[in-house]
Symmetry: C4
Subunit: 337 residues, 4 copies
């Protein structure tokens, strides 16, 4: 099975998602529930477009040493620096084909097959977080992602995830503006550096803050003790009119890249985009929507096929720019259009 075959099979079976040939946010703008981004819907598109304006510096005068796309992160070695992004409420956004448990289990199995891992999601319904932890327990290759709830609930979820074997945990801090979070009692939402530090110390496993878009935010995450950040605007789903993640990544990498890990998501669709993200300073990337399409069309084989496609493209970019391993990929191998 190829990704394209999986995508064809997914069409018509994904609720609000059209499984478009090019997943650039143009077909689903402002579709929530569904895969769209908020308001004008331009953020998802901007994310996608930003990668297109970064070009690769072809250079094949280089020793022919073979290509290694592997990465060590989260205390493990993975076949490529790509992870499936956390997705919650799949029945709400993608229709009733899979429930949360089925979705999460298939995703982690597909990732395991491809030598990578998945971030799993969270939500108002307790089942969302539990489904992710169940998949983690079975597969061993998931990173649970907790929302910025009030303190007690965050502690409880950290305990729950660790009990299922979590080696790392993430919090999508940018979810603080979601209506269901703001409506809770006691209130959920944005967290100060001190509050984050409390969570991080309590967790005592590597903790990643997802939803950082500024140098200032990255420095706060560092100050709070995070093992890393995920440069992300939540695919445009939490605030309209943000910049593209590719646009803010370089300055963030320059400021904190030597002191913490940096992952990035937003509009990354091909191995070329993965290569560009690494060149701009990311250690690894998260990809959301296309993994969902691959899963709805091809189940775990679809997920693995998409990862294989990414790996082949990444390896090709590396070979054609004279990079033998991920550590060779720096800003000298790209330029801007």
């Amino acid at each position: 099975m190829t990704y394209e075959e999986a995508r064809q099979l997914a069409r018509g079976n994904m609720g609000h998602c059209h499984a478009c040939p090019v997943c650039d946010g143009r077909g689903c703008k402002n579709t929530i529930p569904g895969p769209g981004s908020k308001g004008t819907g331009t953020v998802a598109t901007r994310n996608f477009d930003a990668w297109q304006s970064i070009y690769l510096n072809l250079d094949t005068i280089a020793p022919d040493k073979g290509i290694d796309t592997s990465i060590e992160i989260f205390g493990e070695k993975f076949d490529l620096p790509v992870f499936a992004a956390p997705i919650g409420a799949v029945t709400n956004h993608y229709g009733t084909k899979y429930n949360e448990y089925e979705y999460t289990e298939i995703m982690t199995r597909g990732c395991r097959q491809a030598g990578i891992a998945a971030f799993t999601g969270d939500g108002l319904n307790e089942m969302f977080f539990e489904a992710g932890c169940a998949a983690l327990e079975k597969s061993g290759c998931a990173i649970p992602t907790v929302k910025p709830w009030h303190k007690d609930l965050v502690f409880k979820k950290i305990d729950y995830a660790k009990a299922r074997g979590a080696k790392a945990i993430a919090m999508d801090i940018d979810a603080s503006g979601l209506p269901f979070l703001k409506a809770m009692t006691p209130p959920s939402g944005s967290k100060s550096v001190e509050e984050l530090r409390e969570f991080i110390e309590y967790a005592a496993i590597p903790f990643y803050i997802k939803g950082v878009m500024t140098v200032k935010g990255a420095l706060k995450a560092l100050e709070a003790g995070a093992a890393g950040i995920i440069v992300s605007n939540h695919g445009g789903r939490v605030l309209d009119h943000t910049p593209a993640t590719a646009a803010v990544l370089p300055a963030i990498a320059d400021a904190v890249g030597s002191r913490m890990q940096i992952l990035v998501d937003g509009g990354i669709r091909t191995g070329h985009d993965v290569f560009k993200a690494l060149a701009l300073g990311a250690d690894a990337v998260l990809i959301g929507r296309p993994f969902v399409v691959a899963l709805y069309g091809g189940a775990e084989d679809g997920v693995a096929a998409y990862a294989r496609k990414l790996k082949a493209e990444l390896a090709d970019c590396m070979a054609m720019t004279g990079c033998a391993s991920l550590s060779d990929i720096d800003r000298s191998v790209i330029c801007h259009g």
Copy 2:
């Protein structure tokens, strides 16, 4: 009632205005009478587009302190830094549904309901200015705006407005090129700093000069003793080929922002745009056409609904960028695309 409901009801009942889904000047270019902008009609569109190229710096690592959108200005406290722009000759531009008195009274009542105020207009017909002052007298929340007539008429209008309770007054100096003003005897039109100073001293209440687009103009307004300026190109209706207000605002704010108040209008449609205007250095904004649409579709409830929408969007932008009050909104919370 929501703004969208009001807009739907307005369609077909607004003369030359189509009450478009996105009010960006594209549907009405060069339509005068009507809501269009002059000549090529590109100024209204440029105003709108300029806000779209300013992006918000998402950052939710911040204490969760609640959001305050209120502002003190014109000697009063308002719920949000948004005011309805002065509109004159409504039967000419928007059809016969409301006369000037009805329009102005409904607008000020809607503004009062939403905790804001309206600027009211002026024109060749004495009734235009009187209607605004009548609404001011009833609601207490209007700022009369006088055109740059010859000296005696300006004095007379200042007296008239003060007698109806005006706490502040404005002059749209950029109206000096309108044909009916140029045709008057004695001549009306542009005013020197000395002439403006005479008006301002005579008024003896805070005086705002509307239609400033350059640092030089802002410095002249300051020299004349104005309490503030409104950075405005009159929505493109007095001169074709001007820059966007968002483009000139930052330099003007840098030059005079610490010494006088700065308001801005032109293409501001959402709370995101309001947020961006404040980030670029404005104290508050004026909005024209969408308030007219809201009024024609939903009367005072439509006006209030539009203001509520703006407030919710503004509060969301503040929460998602870590701003608890308007004074937290500075240039660090935005970037340019």
Copy 3:
């Protein structure tokens, strides 16, 4: 009669020219014979577009002193700094409605009516130059423009023009690449500084070099003793892929503007464009195609109507930017988009 009425009447009566609502080179690209520009046809469009990206700095805080659009140049006073550009071979490009004599006489009469003058053309057919000189003799308001022929022919044409009363003469040096010039014996074409100096000294009346697009070229014209230059790419008709005249004008004006007169043409269509050209450093402008349209649709009244329209727009721009006379128009009254 208005220009718009003349344009409507011209439609269908102008050979290869469509008399488009907006004369921006898009409707006639690569149409030669006809009014088009050469090759890709993008130069005419680029000329036009360049003026659109220059914006006017609205500022009406200024004394109301009245507006004076007049200029002294070529030893005369004109009502506005606009001249009709030289056009040759009208039957070839615009059909058979007028022959060269009729065209030139009507154009100069229209210009005289409007208080301006026309440059007249030249070509392989002796009649082209003679028609212009005949119109000069009758109207007194024409500047004959000679092509870069071989020396003897240039001398002969200078004599001819002076005998008909020429107070100034021009040479469109950029015509040197036209096939009919290159095919002549003895060869015609580009001229060295020395050759130009010989022409200029022989003429002993103010001599203008038309078709200068670089600082280097302007300095050579200055060295040769020209009274002025016309910054021009011949409307895109002699070389594809040149920059817009508006793009090269500022540097040329900075380099030689204090030492010689600078005129400019290329895509100037409105009084706003005239204003922008002056702001960038031109003393006056030439306009080609729209004057032709005005003439074919409205004869001399059409020409005068177009000039009146330009004057009203120019005066409006001046009033709205605080400029009382042409000498007030400098680079501070515009900005770039």
Copy 4:
């Protein structure tokens, strides 16, 4: 025969190639087999577009000395600085009208007729390289281009070419990512500076490295002893998302232009583009697809006609910018849009 006539005749007879009126990569994106570029297909288009944003500095104040477009390179004198690019596997990409031997022989005959030469290609099928060498033997005007095979095969091909009279040889190093090369045993692909030096010393005739897109790569080619490089991204056919060749050429020319020859290809279609490439620092250019179209439509006469068209356009650009010979063409005769 003109190029346009040849193109019309070629339509429908070129397999996957449409022989488009403007060969800009838009009609064939991602068509491989066929003339398309890889993946998104944007590289071919970007190559083409980059030349369009470079403008010519019209200047005809210059002595009229005649125009010389000739060049000395590869130990010979050619009529213009243009060479046909190497194309392999023509039946695969352009249908069955010509086999490799016929194609190559016609191409070199057409080039000979026009006073230029062709680079000939290589591929998995030995016949591809042999066909080029056969044409070289007959015409004397071909530069064989060898792919980056394993060492023994490269040596063998160098011997083969020299035995047929090669005065220069090229290697398209950027072909190292082609699937058939990567699949070989022993492995073919990218080469270190040391490996290249071995080839170059073994060849002992001028050796050109094709597929250099960075200053770093150019310096490596220099270090390896190459006589020159061809700045090329292989028309977008070996790696998606590379920059345009016109975008990287100037920096490469600045770095190594005084120490080795620089050729460039990618989207060059007209004599204007040739002129621009030389102005940016190239000594000569290669052109691929349009020569193929010319050949399929007009055989050797089509090839010669296309070269004549290029020469006339180049000569016109030179005359209109005051350049008498190729050495006059420097960066002062162009500007960027």
